[in-house]
Amino acid sequence: MTCRDFEHFLIPYVNGADIPEEARSHFAACERCRDLAAALRASGSTAAPSARQLAEIKSAILTDLKAVKPLVSAGVLIPALLSVVIMVITAGVLDLGTAGWRAMNLDQTIAVFTSLAAFSGLLTVLLSRQIVPGSRVLISARITVLLLLGMMGGIFATLFHPHPESTFVATGLVCLRIGLAGAIAAGAFCWLILRRGAILDQVATGALTGALAGLGGLAILEIFCPNPNVYHILVWHLGSTAASVIAGTLVGVVSGYLSGRLSRFRQPFSKT
């Protein structure tokens, strides 16, 4: 056993837990680990709340105590979030048509829509955990968003090719507007679901919601827009998703700042 292996047992050992024989042998032979263990035996804070404070907390909580319905399970939350995105995509497609879908070949259709479905599924799973404190984390929000943008960008860059385009900005702005409108609608409906939970990390939740909403907007664009120019797709279609992620993150930053500032006005307990 190495010092690194022993690290798993160090704090349990210092706290008085039984450790395997192999770990015990390493400890007996290793001066570095013994020194560290001796230092970690230092006592932590032993401060305790006063009886008066506990009584006040109990009194305040009991005054407002009533039965609450537990938050719905992930098995309900995930389909609900997916339904919202599918609803927004359907509304967008009914309004704008399916020229883009028809213009794609089979490889492009399979790759683009399978990736959109897979990332939407992943994002809804992450969001359903994000609103429940203490949930197990599968992958960080930052990595997910970077993976999403990188992989979708890679798929577009591989499967689509450059085409000459005389109105790059004018047609692009139309697509950007459509993508953002879809994202705003999907984001707003998703928020109505997510607000039922406890949003502790507003920035991560904002970024993930922005990404999911952005994928809704991107799906509308891929179904509607027949422009095969890879630069158009990368800049304006995927750009609308990136803009949605940035907007979601900014909403999270502002909301976190405001909730931090306003929390001091919500103290129901008197000062001890």
Binding site: P12, A42, G44, P133, S140, A198
Partner: protein, 200 residues
């Protein structure tokens, strides 16, 4: 009998704690006795979590009240069957972050307006801190938090990962880096003593 620890470093549940999951479910159902029991059992843990970082009793008092307010407000998000401690510490951690940011804003404003007379009340006083806090003081915030949750609050690696919204692998990495740094700090403290002993 001491609790066992498995190969991942996770110890078995603390037998001194009552069944927190049942108490949480009863609390969600509006049971006053369960709410009181939870407050009795968990407040001292929360208080030690808050006082371990902030040093000041008044800050820990404020944060304890704020934590229970938030726990009460989001008690519906506890899912029966899930571990209670990571759920509770995740909320407590957010309270601490918000409190820390608010305190820094206030301190900046006080400094800006040259109101430095009572700054000693707000700043940390290392000599009054428990030994463990003095030991981990040189560590970066994230490493200090993880070690405190493991050592002082008795959480397992998996529980710390859930409470801090990260993966167990990331927690292990932080712990490893913290130990490396602590070893370096301890070595640096030991060397001058050895040098002194070596003087003629």
């Amino acid at each position: 009998m001491p609790p066992d620890v498995d190969a991942s470093g996770s110890s078995s549940p603390d037998p001194s704690l009552p069944n927190l999951e049942q108490l949480m479910i009863a609390y969600q159902e509006g049971d006053a006795a369960a709410a009181k029991s939870l407050i009795d059992v968990l407040s001292s843990r929360l208080y030690s979590f808050f006082s371990s970082e902030m040093g000041s009793r008044s800050h820990a008092d404020d944060m304890l009240q704020e934590a229970w307010l938030r726990i009460h407000r989001v008690r519906h998000t506890y899912r029966p069957g899930a571990p209670v401690l990571p759920w509770m510490y995740a909320i407590a951690r957010r309270v601490r972050v918000d409190h820390y940011r608010r305190r820094r804003r206030i301190e900046r404003r006080e400094i800006a307006s040259e109101a430095l007379q009572d700054i000693s009340v707000h700043t940390r006083q290392p000599e009054q801190e428990p030994l463990f806090q003095q030991l981990v003081a040189p560590l970066p915030e994230a490493q200090r938090e993880v070690l405190t949750l493991l050592k002082v609050n008795g959480l397992s690696i998996e529980e710390v990962a859930r409470a801090t919204s990260t993966t167990a692998g990331a927690v292990k990495q932080k712990v490893h880096r913290a130990y490396n740094r602590l070893r370096a700090v301890l070595q640096a403290r030991t060397l001058p003593q050895l040098d002194k002993r070596g003087e003629p």
